[in-house]
Amino acid sequence: MTDLAPSTAAQAPAPRRTIRGYAARLVPLLPGLALIAFWQWASGRLVREVYVSKPTAVAARLYELFATGEIVPHLWTTAQELVLGYAIGVAGGVAAGYALGRSPRLARVFEPYVMAFYGVPKIALAPLFIIWFGIGPGSKIALSAIMVFFLVFYNVYTGVRAVDREIVDLTLVMGANQRQLTRHVYLPAAAPFVMLGMRLAIPYSVIGVIVGEFTSATQGLGLFIHVASSTYDPAGVFAGIAILLAFVLGAGFLAARLERRLLRWRTLSGVGPSEI
């Protein structure tokens, strides 16, 4: 029976743990290493070190910051702001996106407003937020949350609206009530879009917090970078940026792992959100 042959393309073999396999994984690091080497070489030769610092100086500064504990309070403040801003933004985005996606009536009323606010450059709101929420963490959380919100909202809204009408009808005929329809159809169908929004929102939450801290703050990584740049401390600026970079990469890695786990059916069958 010809139709009993499972499609082999979907069952790609697991990456082999061979030396060649590891080598292939290291290849993407090469351009980064080359850039760092060039930076090290060019600093003091092509460009004055006071403008661009150099990798060894940045590494030394990083070590010093952690060894003396100077960076810890900044790190702690920024981390709190990031986590809260991100969590509030994601929660709001998922809830609003889901509600508007499910209810065409709500969407008709609110979609134009959301779209209008979507176009507002959120960074321009930073000074206002400082006035409204103070120079403490509140204003940074708000800025980060609003940037995350729109991204997540838009993805979830699109995802819920893209749910196959025929699958919804089928599930109703099979006997589903509204609650079961949400659990078995809408949530799993929207999950890839929720995950995509959450992953895309990570760097935006960082931008929100750092811009907020740049504008006005008493503590935080953004303030630290700001102070370093205004006191001719390029090594300090790059050290701060390196920490942010590490954070974004780490969070992105965790999000990708979570996504692979939750959306196992997609990795196995090779179906992207666009094909749902």
Binding site: M1, T2, D3, L4, A5, P6, S7, A10, Q11, D164, E166, I167, D169, L170, T171, L172, V173, M174, G175, A176, N177, Q180, H184, V185, P188, A189, A191, L263, W265, R266, L268, S269, G270, V271, I276
Partner: protein, 271 residues
Amino acid sequence: MTDAVLTFADIRQTFPAPGDGAPTRVLDGIDFAVGRGEFVAVIGPSGCGKSTLLQMAAGLLAPTGGEVRHRGRRIAGVNRAVGFVPQQAKLFPWKTLAENVELPLLLRGIGPAERRDRVGAALRAVGLDGFEGHYPGQLSGGMQKRGSIARTLIYEPDVILMDEPFGALDAQTRMVMQDDLQALSRAAGATIVFITHDITEAVVLADRVVVLSQRPSRVLADVAIDLPRPRDVFEPFRNPGFDAAYDAVWSRFRTQIGLPSRGPRVREPAP
């Protein structure tokens, strides 16, 4: 017919046209009934509203005029006593095959032990045992279709509505599926309404073929197919009496697909 399970009574359907254009009349007084255990094929030119009739039987669409009755009761709202097999398999991509087939039982509040037994039996019936843990994306088109049929058969719906279920399959898979459907439906004594645009498929599978006209469509003919069962779907022309049955359907259908008429017969004027 007194023991009709499903009755279409003077069904009319008009769809609003985009903009200010005249609304499209799709169905113009469709009347036919489906008896218990009967396999009725509905055939008609494309765009004649065949699928619309199934949506009405499932309670997903209310007709503009007339009514669909299921066991004498007018259908208003989703009809959970029927099963629907769509054109595409439409398995849930986020559920494994076994979870897909299990879903109707889960939704109907059937306990886990019984669910497990019935899922096993349903998958065996369509020849998919051993693929329980596969996701739909890992299955071939034919296997997905089998899964879709198993998902419908498992809750033993009163009527099974099939909307060109084999239209998207390759020719060989299609014949195998037709053969399997014939066996499964006979074993289950199922009542089936089967939409198709393939006359051979209609004649070889059905007890009756309802021929619809072009839009706005009416029932052009209701042809009983009295071929003995089981029928050979692989070589349909070898079934005794197949030619005559095919001709009875085709002679009515050919007037609807814009072929120049042969001999003195004049094309029927549009109503």
